[in-house]
């Protein structure tokens, strides 16, 4: 893995010299957005508008298991975290956590052969890590230098891999089959920064990330609990739509977004 990191640094440096800096601005955001057809007359294409769920029976059981764990462990901690820290502090912690994942985005942009986005993520990380005081302040984002977060699942999507069936893992939650290894393995394994961190710091970062993300989701999960007739399906659908919005499928991908650019 050390070798992989060294190679990735060489790749990034090579791109820095090969690509003009003015390409940065044009690759900041994913240009695609809507894939839904709002006509009542068209045939419904569930394959594109929701995840296939052949393992629904076992998924629902794991969903209940995870929900119980969340109710008694993670959610109370997240509520305490939110009550203890003000918006400003949580925002800065969120920026810090997000910044540690930018190298992962950079590597995946490089694998996608998107030199512009690779450069954007490189400068985003450099600027925020220095001028942004270790990532606490999103100085780059304020200037429009911000790459859409990318994982290995995003890279697979870029090469035309669809989401596949819905899978819920104990402790890790739900995702598509394509993305199932992102949270559990690849988001760490493919992030060169994580190899440079002390194990104690990595554990602390993991814990803070978990609580920060859960606190961000409190309003959403409260909303689901109060309004949903089927929380399992509501979460699956929301996860799918949220995930899809940042993906850049090839033009030939079967589930085409029908509307216009962002």
């Amino acid at each position: 893995m050390k070798l992989a990191f060294v190679n990735s640094k060489i790749l990034i440096l090579a791109m820095l010299f090969l690509h003009p800096i003015n390409a940065v601005a044009s690759n900041i955001y994913n240009p695609e957005i809507y894939k839904y057809n709002y006509s009542l007359d068209d045939e419904f294409d569930d394959e594109c508008s929701d995840l296939d769920d052949p393992f629904e029976k076992i998924n629902r059981k794991i969903f209940v298991f995870n929900s119980v764990l969340d109710h008694f462990l993670l959610k109370p901690v997240a509520r305490g975290y939110k009550a203890l820290l003000n918006d400003y502090t949580r925002d800065k912690i969120g920026n810090f956590v997000d910044n540690t994942n930018v190298p992962l985005t950079m590597i995946n942009n490089a694998i996608q052969l998107d030199t512009g986005a690779t450069l954007v993520s490189f400068w985003q990380f450099v600027i925020n890590s220095t001028l942004g005081v270790g990532g606490l302040y999103d100085v780059a984002g304020a200037e429009g230098v911000k790459a859409s977060p990318q994982t290995f699942g995003s890279t697979l999507a870029r090469y035309g891999v669809g989401p596949g069936p819905y899978i819920i893992m104990p402790f890790f939650g739900g995702s598509s089959m394509r993305d199932v290894l992102d949270a559990s393995v690849l988001n760490t394994a493919m992030n060169p920064l994580k190899y440079e961190l002390h194990s104690d710091f990595k554990f602390g970062l993991f814990a803070v990330t978990l609580v920060q993300k859960r606190s961000d989701l409190l309003a959403f999960t409260d909303y689901i609990e109060k309004t949903s007739s089927d929380p399992y399906t509501a979460v699956r659908s929301s996860l799918h739509q949220y995930r899809e919005k940042d993906l850049r499928y090839p033009a030939s991908y079967r589930c085409k977004r029908i509307y216009m650019n962002k």
């Binding site: 839904y36 709002y38 009542l40 309004t227 929301s238």
Partner: protein, 196 residues
């Protein structure tokens, strides 16, 4: 998923200002959505109103600006084709009450957000996307898109897409699951119970 904060509130930010306009333009549509949201903010910030009064006013504004009947039909998805007109009307009534109740209550969650209109794009001659940023100090802005249809009675919002998550597409998946595993009657009972 860190940006899906205050989802209930954001969905609720579809309010007020029923202003019929004959021909759509980018500026008119932007002004329409901005007007909706600013009227909501005015209600939410009004220190002279108690919470119940705010909820009542927001529900009134919602009822004037959402395309409930069309949304109800859309959320039924494939199951709509097997239903009679009276069954669809009956569901539409339940659905309207459900939306007004659940999203009317979201005014209680208002915490100083503001809006910036980013762009207006046409889907076709009568349907448009108004792209906005919901802004709050010390928080990352939220991308919220309002899908607006121009009809005989003026503009009506028919979907709200928060960070890529569509309100009515999510409901379509959810309702299909309930109908498939139980029945339409079961779904209506559940929505009615949440409308109390």
């Amino acid at each position: 998923m860190n940006k899906i904060k205050n989802l209930g509130l954001i969905i609720l930010l579809v309010i007020t200002c029923n202003t019929p306009i004959a021909n759509a333009s980018d500026k008119e549509l932007g002004d329409y959505v901005n007007g909706l949201l600013q009227n909501f903010f005015t209600i939410a910030k009004d220190a002279n109103l108690n919470e119940d009064k705010k909820v009542e006013m927001v529900r009134s504004l919602l009822s004037q600006n959402l395309d409930f009947d069309w949304m109800a039909k859309f959320t039924l998805g494939r199951y709509r084709k097997g239903l009679s007109a009276s069954e669809i009307d009956s569901f539409s009534e339940v659905y309207k009450k459900y939306l007004l109740t659940t999203y009317g209550n979201a005014v209680r969650q208002y915490k100083g957000q503001d809006v910036r209109i980013k762009a207006v794009q046409a889907i076709n001659d009568a349907e448009f996307v108004v792209k906005t940023l919901i802004i709050k100090a010390s928080q990352e802005p939220l991308d919220v898109d309002y899908l607006v249809r121009q009809g005989a009675q003026g503009y009506r919002v028919f979907d709200v897409v928060t960070e890529g998550v569509s309100l009515i597409n999510s409901q379509q998946s959810e309702f299909a699951s309930v109908i498939s595993n139980n029945s339409l009657g079961s779904l209506k009972s559940d929505l009615a119970s949440k409308s109390q």
